[in-house]
């Protein structure tokens, strides 16, 4: 599924936890590990990294370290991902001082916007590694959704998730039901029922033919903005991972007039896997 998994390292206090998290994924997916460091390469740093990798038991034969000396970190990391044809880039979120709230720094956001591959953001990387027991997949009707569902199912199987929910949202529910109020009571409730059934059918259609490998999948339907609803749902069930798709690169304008994905990046309700084709 992921031939190459990359991690950007900065010798921060959480670096070891992040390396162990990625190492776990590398083992699960039988991948090659790419470590990217943006900054001057010194003998001291090289030795330090080598020691850490040895101590953490990282298989160095399947690990490549890239030293990117000059340039903006986000640009260099994206560049390295392109050069190496990375399939998954892992990054860590920042924690708000004193609160159990996580956010993405400007570098993190830029990487997500520009990365040519899928990006997994871990809000709280742990040395004992994160368990992705409860996974939520975005099932809202978008062009990329069939791929997101397929990818989400594959990922959930690989990490042995116990509970997978696919959340689908009825677009513009208020407008639809508002215009439906021209009908009789029976017709209105029929419309309401149909809107829900259509969304369930859409997810079922996309699950057809996929090998679920014993996964327990729940389909949930909601109304409202999908990013907000996904964030609420993840918080409610205390999800470990949210999987969404992105098929376009985001720009500065997306921050000024945030769209759904950008909303999620500022909320960050749990670990977030952004699937890109």
């Amino acid at each position: 599924m992921y031939r190459k998994i990359a991690l950007a390292i900065a010798f921060s206090p959480r670096m070891e936890a992040l390396i162990l998290e990625v190492q776990n994924l590398v083992n699960l997916f039988q991948s090659e590990l790419i470590l990217i460091h943006v900054g001057v390469k010194t003998d001291e740093l090289e030795t330090k990294l080598d020691d850490i990798l040895t101590r953490l038991g990282v298989d160095k034969t399947k690990t490549k370290v890239l030293w990117k000396e000059k340039g903006k970190p986000s640009k260099k990391i994206v560049e390295a991902c392109k050069e190496e044809n990375v399939d998954l880039l892992v990054s860590g979120a920042l924690k708000e001082e004193g609160f159990l709230k996580y956010y993405l720094g400007s570098v993190g956001r830029k990487i997500i916007r520009k990365a040519p591959c899928s990006v997994l953001t871990l809000i709280d990387p742990k040395k004992e590694t994160t368990k992705f027991s409860k996974v939520v997949i975005n099932g809202t009707q978008l062009e990329i959704t069939p791929d997101v569902i397929r990818h989400g199912v594959e990922f959930s199987k690989a990490v042995s998730s116990k509970n997978v929910s696919i959340l689908n949202e009825i677009k513009l529910y208020g407008l639809l039901m508002g215009t439906a109020s021209e009908d009789t009571e029976g017709e209105v409730s029929e419309t309401r029922k149909k809107l829900v059934q259509d969304e369930i059918a859409y997810v079922e259609e996309n699950l057809k033919g996929l090998d679920l490998g014993g996964l327990k999948i729940h389909i949930k339907v909601t109304g409202g903005r999908w990013a907000t609803e996904l964030a609420r749902f993840c918080e409610k069930i205390e999800a470990d991972l949210l999987i969404v798709g992105d098929d376009r690169s985001l720009t500065f304008l997306d921050r000024l007039f945030p769209h759904d994905l950008e909303d999620l990046l500022s909320t960050l309700p749990c670990n977030l896997l952004i699937y890109k084709k």
Partner: protein, 411 residues
């Protein structure tokens, strides 16, 4: 404080009851014929007004609608509130994240579908002001107003048609919805600028301060104002009665914004629209709350407004087939081809681009309000206003069948 006397109160209540009953009867007939309710409501007004009832039973019509001056002032207040609320709900319908998700394509369709009718409408009205009934003293502004009125898409009407045709959730359906939302926003911003340029519009602060304040208000409401709403709404939802708290406070904010824009010299409805956009786009304005707002405004205040149109104008006396013909032909063709062209530019297949064209041609809401404001400000004649209303009726009636036909075309 002066109050209505016993007879005036009875008269006002009878007026409202008659308007709502007739609107309901004709909306039901329209529904049976698979037409939007607005078509029935406009026809109900024409029947109750000077056109039919005033002709068949002039004394009765006079007694009901013209016997007490104070009642008419009170009714006008109710109609004004109805228009403000209609614009508020039109704003709530605009969801910027839906527009954003459709990206440049929605923008292309919206802008081409507006540009063509605005230019054509302006040229025709400017070239033949006397024939069309455009105010010759305020020719440029009035001509632009006419162009703008025929360039609007009725979002609620097209949403209903798309739902009936099972096209709402398709790529084409969402593209039409997003484009119609852009048309609404751009249309009302142009409207506010034109109104401040008109002779009657900028009574208060002068043209440039009015335009400046309007743009400042719009940008503020869609950025900082929206942020503020995003902070207040979660508190409202948690701490106050639901949906009572949300409904009364959002309407209060709507009236505040409306009074502000009225104060700066543009119409109250602009403020209501922009505040509607800001509230509707908030992630904390739940879909259930929007549904309630829709139901209560669309079924009580919208009928009062649409019926009131027929009470104001005699559709037979002021009917001019030449003017109506020009308005309908120019309005329909330019809007269709503008949107069709936008669809092609957005890379939509030809038959889908035709669906977009017919979808964007639906009217029957904001265009009529624009026409009415132009009529009340002396910018257009009754004949031209009738043309705008008939264009709305024809395009709303034809939208469903034409979109269904285009959808099946194999081109």
């Amino acid at each position: 404080m002066e109050t209505l006397n016993h007879k005036e109160v009875i008269n006002l209540l009878l007026q409202l009851a008659a308007m709502l009953i007739m609107a309901r009867i004709f909306a039901e007939i329209a529904r049976k014929l698979k037409q939007p309710a607005v078509v029935g409501e406009i026809i109900a007004g024409i029947i109750m007004g000077p056109t039919i009832l005033g002709y068949l039973a002039p004394d009765f019509q006079m007694g009901l609608f013209h016997s007490h001056e104070m009642t008419n002032i009170a009714l006008d207040g109710v109609v004004q509130i109805s228009v403000v609320l209609l614009l508020f709900i039109a704003g709530i319908e605009v969801e910027l994240h839906v527009v954003w998700s459709q990206g440049k394509n929605a923008l292309k369709i919206a802008l081409t579908s507006m540009a063509l009718p605005i230019i054509a409408g302006f040229v025709v009205a400017y070239a033949f002001p006397e024939f069309l009934g455009v105010n010759i003293n305020d020719r440029a502004v009035a001509s632009t107003f006419f162009g703008l009125a025929i360039s609007i898409t009725a979002l609620a009407v097209v949403a209903r048609v798309l739902m009936d045709l099972n096209l709402f959730k398709t790529k084409t359906g969402l593209l039409i919805i997003a484009s119609a939302m852009v048309v609404d926003v751009v249309g009302w911003i142009i409207f506010s600028v034109i109104l401040s340029l008109s002779e009657n519009g900028s009574e208060g602060l002068g043209v440039w301060p009015t335009i400046g304040l309007t743009l400042l208000f719009t940008v503020f409401m869609l950025t900082l104002g929206k942020g503020l709403i995003n902070r207040v709404l979660p508190w409202t939802n948690k701490q106050l009665a639901w949906p009572g708290g949300l409904l009364s406070l959002s309407l209060a904010i709507c009236f505040l914004a409306a009074s502000f824009t009225e104060f700066i010299g543009i119409h109250a409805i602009f403020g209501a629209f922009i505040i509607g956009v800001a509230i509707g786009d908030s992630e904390h304005a739940t879909e259930k709350a929007k549904e309630i707002l829709h139901q209560f405004i669309n079924n009580i205040f919208a009928p009062i407004f649409f019926v009131s149109i027929g009470l104001k104008v005699n559709f037979i006396e002021a009917f001019d087939p030449g003017v109506v013909g020009v308005v309908v032909i120019v309005g329909f063709l330019t809007k269709f081809f503008g949107a069709y062209l936008g669809g092609i530019m957005a890379g939509v297949k030809r038959n889908k681009a035709m669906v977009v064209g017919f979808g964007m041609s639906t009217r029957g809401s904001m265009d009529i309000i624009l026409g009415l404001i132009a009529l009340e400000n002396g910018m257009v004649s009754e004949s031209l206003f009738i043309g705008i209303v008939i264009l709305a009726l024809i395009s709303s009636i034809m939208a469903g069948p034409l979109m269904g036909w285009a959808e099946k075309l194999k081109i």
